[in-house]
């Protein structure tokens, strides 16, 4: 259709003094960028296909490769940025909705980076995590109004079902189908080893992974894929997915080509058929419907599993959260607008929802004001990037955090944001067998364990600095935070003092 107005975004820079034409790059590129020209006796590249996933760079034995952003520039225009123009070209060419994946990459303020953590000096001592116990165990679930004792002084009150975590970090929902079987295996094994949980996402649960059930959160989403009694009983908890930070108000669409034999079995849908998750649950048009779903799930599992309700952080998140707390849910998971996804309409991903930091502050405060904070635990996700983000989230009032993108990075993801193509060169967001096998779960599991171990050490260091030796004493301890470069309004919402105050 006429001229292609899209110039390649990246350039493959190959140092021919180093290139030994081993052709590893060629074999490793699912986008078929590299090839060998027998006449030139040289490697050549079709840059228009390059997504900058860095696979070839990582595997080149002679470090002969680098991928750089092209410096070819359209005429500068502060209003019509190059990307904006290219998107118009793309849509004029395709007539379609722009698709992209992973988290919102746009330049919005990151409030984690505008909060600073406290430390002890003189008037009280910091605690050395290498000498003293530094506890990070958390329980998620409803807390009783009171604890009654019998004559003997033993506990009479029975607790609601709880999730017990050795550290306040879980792997967030990523469905089998959107990510590969090996990625799922790694998440499940690492969660088990580290005493935390991973989340099946809406793709059902492969029977092979039932063995990790104690460390599995099974999700029930609008598509109800792979949901059946054994599935519900298989996990430690059940998560109802109402929304996702990357695409609030939008359903999901897993293209048929990703529905191979195993995925189709697990999701209980025909092979090759598109898997459509409706935007709303068609049995939930209001909060009272949610209550019914929560209790039918509890009934189905004899009240042995805590129920999580996951929502996207949207404008009136506090009110919604309060409604959920009153609907019988044990845990609320809030997903910020930077949360990742396997595929979302670009406009939605980049323009809908609010930052998790503000949502969390508002929800925690609102639930306390309504005196129902103990009825529900709060889990937050949507771009938790480091141990300090975790510490800040907990100080703001979260019980635990979900990490998704960070986990994928740990196993090789380079955020090329092309999951939707299904050609993930790192074997993560793909179902193509030759690509899936690139992710050896043994290696991936170890890397995930390392990441959690490292973050937990850092969390403990920061706690020790604050003179806190158990994570529960940090929860909602907003005095431990100070804002930096924040407006009165932002401070008011976060309910923290400004640095220097």
């Amino acid at each position: 259709m006429g001229i292609d107005l899209l110039y390649p975004k990246y350039e493959v820079v190959r140092n021919f003094d180093r290139c030994i034409t081993c052709r590893v790059c060629e074999r490793q590129c699912a986008n078929e960028v590299h090839s060998y020209d027998p006449e030139l006796k040289k490697m050549v590249a079709d840059e228009s296909k390059c997504v900058d996933c860095q696979r070839c760079v990582a595997l080149c034995p002679t470090r002969a490769l680098k991928i750089v952003e092209t410096d070819n520039t359209f005429k500068k225009n502060a209003n019509w940025k190059q990307q904006t123009i290219e998107e118009v070209y793309r849509q004029a060419g395709s007539g379609g909705v722009l698709l992209s994946s992973m988290g919102n990459p746009q330049e919005y303020p990151v409030y984690w980076d505008k909060m600073l953590i406290n430390a002890s000096q003189v008037t009280n001592p910091s605690i050395d995590p290498l000498r003293e116990p530094m506890e990070t165990k958390v329980f998620l679930g409803k807390k009783p109004k009171t604890i009654e004792l019998d004559e003997a002084g033993n506990v009479k009150t029975a607790l609601e079902p709880q999730i017990e975590l050795e550290l306040p970090i879980m792997f967030s929902a990523m469905s089998y189908g959107s990510i590969s079987e090996n990625a799922h295996k790694a998440l499940a094994r690492a969660a088990t080893k580290m005493g935390t949980c991973y989340n099946t996402g809406e793709g059902g649960l492969n029977k092979e992974l039932y063995q990790y059930g104690e460390h599995t959160i099974v999700q029930v989403a609008s598509g109800r894929f792979g949901v059946h009694p054994d599935y519900l009983m298989a996990g430690q908890a059940i998560e109802i997915k109402m929304g996702q930070g990357a695409k609030p108000g939008i359903g999901g669409h897993l293209p048929g080509r990703k529905i191979g034999e195993k995925v189709s079995q697990t999701r209980m849908i025909p092979q090759g058929s598109d898997a459509i998750s409706p935007a709303p649950h068609h049995d939930i048009y209001s909060i009272e419907d949610l209550r019914q779903l929560i209790f039918s799930l509890k009934e189905a599992t004899n009240y042995t599993k805590p129920v999580i309700v996951k929502i996207a952080a949207v404008h009136n998140v506090a009110a919604i959260a309060s409604g959920i707390a009153r609907s019988g849910a044990d845990i609320i998971a809030i997903d910020g607008f930077r949360g990742g996804t396997g595929a979302a309409p670009t406009r939605i991903r980049d323009n809908v929802g609010i930052p998790i930091e503000l949502a969390l502050a508002a929800v925690d405060q609102r639930l306390r004001e309504e005196k129902i904070r103990n009825d529900i635990s709060i889990v937050v996700g949507g771009s938790i990037r480091s141990a300090s983000d975790v510490v800040k989230a907990i100080a703001l009032g979260a019980d635990a955090c979900y990490i998704g993108t960070a986990a994928l990075l740990a196993i090789g993801c380079h955020l090329c944001r092309k999951c939707q193509t299904g050609k993930c060169n790192w074997g993560i967001a793909t179902q193509r067998e030759d690509l899936v096998k690139r992710l050896n779960p043994d290696i991936a599991t170890k890397r995930l364990e390392n990441l959690l171990t490292a973050w937990n050490h850092e969390i403990q260091e920061m706690m020790g600095g604050m003179g806190i030796n158990s994570i529960e004493a940090l929860k909602g301890n907003r005095l431990m935070l100070r804002g930096i470069g924040l407006s009165e309004k932002e401070l008011e919402i976060l309910q923290i003092k400004h640095a220097g105050e």
Binding site: P61, D434, N440, I443
Partner: protein, 145 residues
């Protein structure tokens, strides 16, 4: 003894092991230099690429009953105490009988027309180059029964 084993399901067929092996035994300290020589160094293992995405590397199994050694007409091949099978290329006259004896096709002819094979480059007890550089643990160096 510790041997090289192949985890076929994890082999990507990237062939890195071949290049790292050839480099490790090239005597060069720089991989680029090794492969810019007129005679490119020859790997001592071989990656087979089959249909339907099956790949695997084949190198000397260091057999308990090494047909190559039994068949060697010059005594160039020998098995040391550890069980590693070595070749003395001063003695090898390139008759290739060992190649005909080896059930795995693990021996190859070198540029100088003598036979070369994997002798487990484990000097200063590091893992063999192919194992070290396999991006997906498809080649491992371990005890197995």
């Amino acid at each position: 003894m510790k041997r090289i084993y192949v985890n076929e399901e994890w082999c990507l067929g990237c062939h890195l092991c071949e290049y790292e092996c050839a480099f490790a035994n090239s005597g060069e300290t720089n991989i680029v230099k090794a492969f810019k020589r007129d005679l490119k160094p020859i790997p001592r293992l071989h990656v087979e690429d089959a249909e339907n995405g099956i790949h695997f590397a084949v190198s000397c199994r260091q057999c308990e009953v090494p047909y190559c050694v039994l068949g060697c007409i010059t005594g160039a091949l020998s098995r040391d105490e550890q069980g590693v099978i070595h070749i003395d290329d001063n003695k090898c006259i390139g008759c290739r009988t060992c190649m005909l004896m080896c059930p795995y096709g693990a021996l190859t002819i070198n540029h100088n027309k003598t036979v070369t094979k994997c002798e487990l480059c484990t000097d200063n007890n590091q893992e063999p180059a192919c194992v070290q550089n396999c991006p997906n643990n498809a080649i491992v160096f371990e005890e197995r029964e």
